[in-house]
Assembly symmetry: C2
Homo-oligomer: 321 residues x 2
């Protein structure tokens, strides 16, 4: 069973929710190592009534710290210590709900990039069962980066969506060949010549369909798309719920409530609990700062599943082709 | 009453749906001039039993034509003739559901850019009551372009959403100052110093809120966001509808059907019928190729409302500040 180093001091609701989430994942069989202030974490664990190994880390990186500087100077920050456990082979995965920048810096400087990876990327699994990357790590990309994102995204789709030879599309403003910026035109040619199951240009509206599994794009566009989808989904669900309540529709239709809450749960970013930072020498899952215990438990399970499935090795193999 | 030149030969369902849409708009008081093959249009008008002035244009630009070349060589194409009516002052607005590229080329080369405008932009009014621009005209932008988009978008929000001093946000990957690419960092400074009601960086998820009216971004990002929002909305509504049908929920709750179809109608891109190409010396509305008569009628009304409200003059005034 892979061991997952968990930065238990990161996130808006640390350490209470983080410890509760870790306990839930541990009870489900995930091998968690809690990293953070030992006294604080031990007290929380006592309250939760469950024993999990703790590795002491007295410092904390604040959201206001400059990530790269903080990683260099705060050697004993929980995220740094957790990353070192992965770098030293004492854990196979890292999960944090703290500063995304600090987690990315720790992954880059302490765990290190996989050989052949030009840029680690954030891979996000949308509730629509699409893998989108880069979702925010690299704002300015080169065509070769997008090609590598296609490889990384295919591995994510295989492991987490159970799809063999996932289809890969290039996110663009139209389906025809030749559309897009210089970046897309050059990336199209690289993807076309690759061993990936490339299906050509796809558009934002393909999130409404099942014709493509992996959408590759630069980190700026991917981040906007991800958050835009969240915004629209939240607006629709909130409006429907409040209109139905106002009209007192469905009070006598229990099935309606079930359908709506099922949809809301599927759309909830917490279902997947986090996004993968792919391309480093360990499995790295970065959670929302506002992660609840459910989101934390899901993120820990994702990291464990990824490590068990050989995510890092499969990305390395894909890139060497 | 402003006169609107309508390229009645453009769009997947021309001329039948285009003429029906024009008739509907004309009956509601929009002053439409139909442009296209006179014999074909007269026959369609006879069938519809309503008289609308027709200006003959024997040629048609196909979706497969290169837009800029076609505008130069097909002087008698319906879109070219319609654009000339605006250029000559015989009409104040132009509507087309044909090739977007051809409409943009006709607007640029025949109607011409407004003085001071660096790049005309596509302004899209989302069903969430946000104006987003550029939604696809300019894939690579400079900071000054984004500043001008803020001016154009503010005028659209004033006219179509009835908002005084609309708030303008810069679409970015985080709210903090300094986020984004070099483009966003430089555009932020320009917007901040402008006379616009600038509220800083906003994110895709702000489409779920009402904290900003106008979102400015480059045409690549805007197009992806627009189509992504359409895709997610379609997916949610389709899933909800089919799940409820399957579970036979709501057969006894007529209010439910009303709420769902009301939401679907509000989310329908056809409600607004088209997007504005802002920054030329005439009001230009570009419809979807698949526009139904409803979408066409709405696009014609939008163009008429825009011309009546002095859209072009207000953009010019805003840019000269």
């Amino acid at each position: 069973m892979p061991r997952i180093a968990f930065d238990a001091m990161g996130g808006d609701f640390a350490p209470h929710e983080t410890v509760q989430g870790a306990v839930r994942a541990a009870k489900e069989g995930v091998e968690v190592i809690l990293v953070g202030d030992e006294a604080i974490l031990s007290r929380s664990l006592d309250e939760a009534g469950h024993a999990i190994p703790v590795v002491h880390a007295p410092e904390v990186i604040e959201m206001s710290d400059d990530p790269a500087t903080a990683i260099r100077t705060k050697k004993n920050a929980s995220i740094s210590v957790a990353a070192r456990l992965v770098a030293n082979g004492e854990a196979e995965g890292l999960v944090s709900a703290g500063s995304t920048g600090a987690a990315m810096a720790a992954a880059a400087f302490i765990i290190g990039r996989l050989e052949g990876v030009q840029r680690p990327a954030i891979g996000s699994i949308f509730p629509t069962r699409h893998v989108v990357l880069d979702a925010g790590a690299n704002l300015d990309c080169k065509p070769e980066h997008l090609l590598q994102f296609g490889v990384m995204g295919s591995v994510l789709a295989e492991i987490y969506l159970g799809i063999e030879m996932p289809t890969v599309g290039l996110l663009n403003i139209g389906e025809e060949r030749g559309k897009g910026r210089e970046l897309e035109r050059a990336a199209f040619r690289l993807l076309e010549e690759s061993a990936l199951n490339f299906v050509g240009n796809v558009e934002g509206r393909d999130l409404g369909r099942n014709n493509v599994d992996v959408l590759v794009t630069d980190g700026f566009t991917g981040n906007v798309l991800l958050k835009g989808a969240e915004g629209i989904a939240a607006r629709i669900m909130n409006s429907l719920t409040s209109e139905l309540r106002e009209l007192q529709v469905g009070a006598d239709a229990p099935g309606l409530h079930r359908v709506l809450s099922g949809m809301a749960a599927r759309l909830d970013p917490e279902t997947y609990g986090g996004a993968h930072l792919v391309g480093t020498k360990g499995v790295v899952v970065i959670g929302h700062g506002s992660s609840s215990r459910t989101a934390i438990a899901n993120a820990l399970r994702m990291a464990s599943d990824g490590a068990a499935a050989g995510l890092v090795q499969r990305v390395a193999a894909g890139l060497s082709q």
